[in-house]
Symmetry: C2
Subunit: 262 residues, 2 copies
Amino acid sequence: MRAEHKAEMKARKRNIALLVAYDGTNYNGFQRQRPPIQAIQNILEERLEKIFGDSIELSASGRTDAGVHALGQVVNFFTNGRIETKKIPRAAAGYLPSDIIVRDAWEEDKNFSALHSAKSKIYIYRIQTGATVNPFAARFAWHIPYPLDVQKMSDALKILVGTHDFSAFKAAGGAPMNPVRTIYSAEIFPVREFDADILQIKIHSTGFLYHMARNIVSAVVAVGRERMTLPEFQKIFKDRDRSPIPATAPAHGLCLYKVFYS
Amino acid sequence: MRAEHKAEMKARKRNIALLVAYDGTNYNGFQRQRPPIQAIQNILEERLEKIFGDSIELSASGRTDAGVHALGQVVNFFTNGRIETKKIPRAAAGYLPSDIIVRDAWEEDKNFSALHSAKSKIYIYRIQTGATVNPFAARFAWHIPYPLDVQKMSDALKILVGTHDFSAFKAAGGAPMNPVRTIYSAEIFPVREFDADILQIKIHSTGFLYHMARNIVSAVVAVGRERMTLPEFQKIFKDRDRSPIPATAPAHGLCLYKVFYS
């Protein structure tokens, strides 16, 4: 049945891809949930059905957890709907809530899958520093009022670059999967936005294990606060031992920034 | 009675000033309202009473309208409370909701009034450009998807600098007051924040009539969209005739940025 259903979907005329941004604050993550739980996928599918006139089943580059944001989520779906591709973003704006935005739309060939064709992803984690919270940054950054040694954080991130077993940063109890990924780059840099001092941790990897980005941030922050030394960080990583890493960094600092396809 | 009450307040030992930031999205403006309407002043007074142990009556540099934000609102109040001044921001964070923040606290002499001692203010209005909304900027910027001629907007703003009658930009039906103010500077400049293109209009003035900042923005945007010429803008300003100005720019783009005292 499932294979038949897939074939039916693929028999539709068009394979539409969308670049989607969202403020994840009010949603229970990306992946479709049983109503009344509000997931971003439910809302996208419901509203896109109104535009395209047939039932929509999205495939996304990956899930994002509850509270995680996106500027560069990519999804695709098969449809017989006839709306001109370039008109999709504005049409979507008329149906979607203001915190879910279709930034771009384009047509792909039938073999493209936002999930399976993805080659790598960039996640950005934002930390707001300073003694008090800046309300303009608060929704999209973890506020850390303590001093952070940015050079040490940068050194810790460099240790992760390359092809490694990232089990140390995997959430306990996640589904078993191959824990080897290749991190192409992992950097930290400061930006200033409307009176707020933000540290952005940017990680480009072939993929991310469950909670991997947020656990990396959590360990790197421990290094920045001098609660963990660089040799300790390296040892945890090599030993694939999650236990000394502090609690997973909060979801609202994380953003799926970009997905790369070949 | 009122004068007696004022004298009683002034007889208290300390005159505390606070630098306050807020995300105005969820509040019905700054000024105290009859419950259950949520105004920022109600919440500040209620929560500060828990910290200082006596009844608090705030004076603020000025009201901000429903939905308007602040990074630099200044308030003061008299108290016999004994908490150390430098501990106030952190104590306040324990009582206040996360969208109202005490950034700084200091002690003033008895004659200081956040309202009456204010010499000038800076308001910043933020416009997000680009075809689609960036969700990270959406809460604190007016999205305008149409092309804007920034040079013409800058020229319009320059016309306003100096001491003038600003009646053209006053809301219809506001309380009668002297409409003369001195604008020290009025500029527009682009910033880029996390993939969003923002235009910031920054106006430094001895004061602002009711809706003046938002009506200036509205007229300047009309110039930027080439719906109003510079000579038309100048004529409206000189004739003190509000009628050709489009609707007041939305509140959520506006932020009280800084208040200056002598």
